[in-house]
């Protein structure tokens, strides 16, 4: 059995939806960041699959995927630093406790 481009897009859609569910529903900030990572992984699968099937010679999807990884690595680093800063300030890292802008 052989598969084409569409199963990859389906897989990415399902992964992205699961990440979306987590990003909307989770209360712990670390789990929220994990869900964002899941969405980034789904996007990368899409990019690489399109690159392999549509433009195999110019490798556009590879570059896009690698730069997405750079940005999401920076995002995770900053996000976790932010979680630790919030924890220092309020001894907890629940999303529900973060309703004040300055307090």
């Amino acid at each position: 059995m052989r598969v084409g481009l569409e199963p990859f897009l389906m897989l990415a859609a399902v992964l992205f939806s699961l990440g979306l569910y987590g990003a909307v529903s989770k209360k712990a900030t670390v789990q929220l960041l994990m869900s964002l990572e899941l969405m980034a992984v789904a996007v990368n699968i899409n990019l690489v699959a399109f690159s392999r099937f549509i433009t195999p010679a110019t490798l556009d999807g590879w570059f896009f995927a690698v730069f997405t990884m750079v940005v999401s690595a920076a995002e995770v680093g900053l996000g976790l630093a932010l979680i630790i800063a919030i924890y220092r300030r309020s001894r907890g890292s629940e999303v529900t406790g973060l309703s004040e802008l300055k307090g």
Binding site: M1, L18, Y21, I54
Partner: protein, 169 residues
Amino acid sequence: MPETVNGVAFGILAVMCVGGALGMLATKNIVHAAFWLLEVSVAAAGVFLLLSADYVALVQLLVYAVAVAVLMIFSIMITLRRLEDAIRPRDFSAIAATLATLFCALMIYALRGFHAPAGQKLPAVAPDIAAFGALLFAAKGWALPFEIASLILTAALVGAVWWTREGEK
């Protein structure tokens, strides 16, 4: 060169990806969730290998499966002092589930009408790392985005240190 990607290998990796994601969302323990995310990252690297994107698979393993997983586990260790803190109450949200299901259904509905002729069989031209490197550092290729990416990483590093520094006042 096979006609298209092997369906059995793809099926196994897809089940690993989706199962890991479900496990990450379903588990009550945050530490377990971090390990499920690690499993999803490794399975996604397998998907990239299946698409003969070996460089992207390597970067995926290095960045997500090693660096991000270690960072996640370290910050869990720092912010959760006791074992009981890692166990979360089950937080099922019907609104979020509806939103995600609607999005998934919309995407799959859109994909059903999508039949690109190029997507049916794999092109014979296999991408390779040498071509990737030549394009990455070509002046008319991706050299400028590459430099901007290093700038972004430096800014993120400095920002993270500045945010978490000791001695606020």
